[in-house]
Symmetry: C2
Subunit: 412 residues, 2 copies
């Protein structure tokens, strides 16, 4: 007989084929053909394991195990979409771990080895990554009413294709309304080095870092690169390059590891080899556990932009797109998971998350538990992303215990 561990790895391998890249990762951006294939595979997996499958209007994919009609649900999941050329663990591991754990608990309940008080559901949130369609954490954002359904459906990719068109084309735009859960749990790869450095197998996430995210638009004037004198230039790409270099130096000027400052997206108009850019737009992403550090960075950014306007003879507009402070996960969840880890004798550490997750949205809707498994060298959003097999299994085992408590006793 096949062990559950073998089944878990063969399911994970099957899932990892959708959008597989030669470099050993996946490229499965939201609502692409590869994402649709992964979703259809997961749909079939859920039905084969006795879940009822439903979709809401933003394409969130739910698998329901209804023990008591009308009872509240415990919900557990993550996301199957990926960044371009990304790792196969980010999001996908959490979806499969949730499904595997919930399936086991469903089986136990059917054998009367478990006596749940609540129903249990798993979820694959739509478009957590936000690389093809902005903003990120789209499915959970709409579900938690932080983002309007209309705005999300109208979001378009670089070619002008909308979320709504793609969800409709692939058959993932549903009419289901999943009720507010009694609690939510998510397990994810850490994407940082803390657990590895500490030698621990499970991370109990206590807080999510604060962030300020901006779109910065640099407005210059289109001109001939050959014949336009330097003094006459209003070069928007030069202006944006100054911002990019100075934003990076912000992080270096701040106390060590207190501030993450990044620019990773750029749009240049007209982006021609012989024409100076008339307009260049970039993102500026500032993250810190300290609100004071974030406020300092925003003030410093404003000074940078003032200087860039002068040095590059351009006009700069900045638009705040995301802003939140260090925000805790609920103490009851942390206490519960700490208790379970001690009971199980599994090594654990309390850690913060710098990356956003669907649980960042859910935790403001209902009591939420967020768990990490270690990432080798902290590598993520990269085909080389890796988590050791033992850690994957330990995380799934741990999630079984957590969900078992959540569906029976609930959070104290």
């Amino acid at each position: 007989m096949t062990s559950w561990q073998d089944t878990f790895f063969s399911d994970f391998a099957a899932m990892s084929q959708f959008g597989a890249t030669p470099g050993g990762g996946i490229d499965r951006q939201a609502a692409t053909d590869a994402d649709a294939e992964a979703r259809r595979w997961f749909h079939q997996w859920l039905e084969a394991h006795h879940f009822q499958v439903e979709y809401d209007p933003i394409g969130n994919q739910f698998g329901l195990l209804e023990f008591y009609p009308g009872a509240p649900y415990v919900l557990c999941g993550s996301h199957l979409d990926s960044q371009p050329l990304a790792g196969k663990f980010d999001g996908s591991y959490g979806v499969l771990a949730a499904a595997s754990a919930a399936s086991l608990l469903g089986y136990q309940a059917s054998m009367e080895a478990l006596h749940p008080k609540y129903n249990l559901a798993v979820v694959n949130w739509f478009n957590e990554e936000g690389s093809r369609f902005s903003p990120s954490m789209m499915g959970s954002g709409v579900y938690c009413s932080k983002l309007s359904l209309d705005e999300a459906q109208a979001s378009t990719d670089d070619r002008g294709t909308s979320v709504d068109a793609e969800l409709t084309a692939h058959g993932f735009k549903g009419k289901f309304t999943f009720p507010t859960p009694i609690s939510y749990a998510e397990i994810h790869v850490e994407q940082g080095r803390n657990l590895e450095n500490l030698g621990k197998q499970i991370g109990l996430v206590t807080e999510t870092w604060g962030a300020r995210k901006f779109t910065v638009r640099v407005i210059g004037e289109q001109a001939h690169t050959g014949s336009t004198l330097i003094a006459d230039r209003k070069d928007a790409l030069f202006g944006a390059a100054l911002v990019i270099t100075e934003v990076r130096r912000l992080a270096e000027r701040c106390q060590k590891e207190l501030l993450q400052a990044s620019v990773s997206h750029i749009k240049v108009l007209p982006n021609s080899p012989v024409t100076i850019s008339r307009e260049t737009t970039i993102n500026v992403d500032l993250r810190s556990p300290s609100s004071e550090a974030l406020d300092w960075a925003v003030l410093a950014l404003e000074k940078i932009l003032d200087n860039v306007e002068k040095e590059a003879s351009v006009r700069v507009e900045k638009n705040l797109t995301h802003s939140w402070e260090l925000s805790p996960y609920c103490a009851e969840g942390i206490n519960l998971t700490q208790h379970i880890a001690e009971e199980m004798g599994i090594s654990y550490a309390k850690v913060q998350t710098v990356a956003g997750h669907d649980s960042t949205n859910l935790k403001d809707l209902c009591p939420t538990v967020m768990l990490f498994v270690p990432s080798v060298e902290g590598i993520s959003h990269n085909e080389r992303e890796f988590t050791k097999p033992d850690d994957l299994l330990a995380g799934r085992d741990f999630l079984v215990e957590v969900l078992s408590t959540l569906v029976t006793d609930g959070l104290a």
Copy 2:
């Protein structure tokens, strides 16, 4: 009766409708629908004015006036394609001025008021701008054997569409071989401020600036923008931004107006809001009349790239794509046009060109005359590009005299 001036402006207005933009310019990149419409319009114009229309395999569009079968041709023209959101004068003015002047000379010959020794042809060179399909000056480059036909036909745009596919689809891939001309003439807007500053109406182009053009590829490593520590980052976009800012400063460090240094094109992978770039490619465009200044700038660029490798923890590759020195137009052409200007009493100046033109290719094949009309404020590759109506007419009049001499006496 309509004056030739009225006809010239109504033809120019008709031509400027193809790819017209709300900002008063045109967007008519090579082999787009707008470019194809302009070419069909010009085809009809040529036939209506008794030219025989032919296309070669790279889509160069020729209009022939054959006075003596087998005699060599004098050729005159420019290009109808444009940069994105560009002015309507760049290239297009030169094509219409050539056609208008040649048509008049053809009429004079038919009336025996002119006794040509050579045949006369006009040309609309394919893809001078190079914004959609690289490299620029493609049609004249293939015609002058500086670029292979296969390479040019295989060039693709951002969506993977090839030159060959577009030329075939629009019906502009022909089999004609235009013979080597006895001489070539081109008139173009200056795209700089020299004539305006000097208060002159015609520029006699004596030399084209030297240039070194590179593709610089910055290779980093894809990672999560949120959770990857600054010390662990190999951020290719940060590396490219350092290059962009330092290349600009090269021009500022050099003697005033001796060096043009630009970056205007960038490709970022994966270009996602939450993923650090694994690879960013930019162009670096250095131009100067001084070979020494160019050599100095290339050495300085190498130092910049070495420093960027260290500061951004990336690897940098640079690939030289274009290299030429200050290069003269033929003395006979300059002497001829100076003589004509003095005879006509039109104000003129000898000027250099910083921008490349199709004549830059032709001048290495046959004796070539290059003429400029003034650009208001030197603005070009911009919808606000403008040349005064009187200057447009004076340029066409001047071209009539030049071509008249070239087809009768030839270059002394």
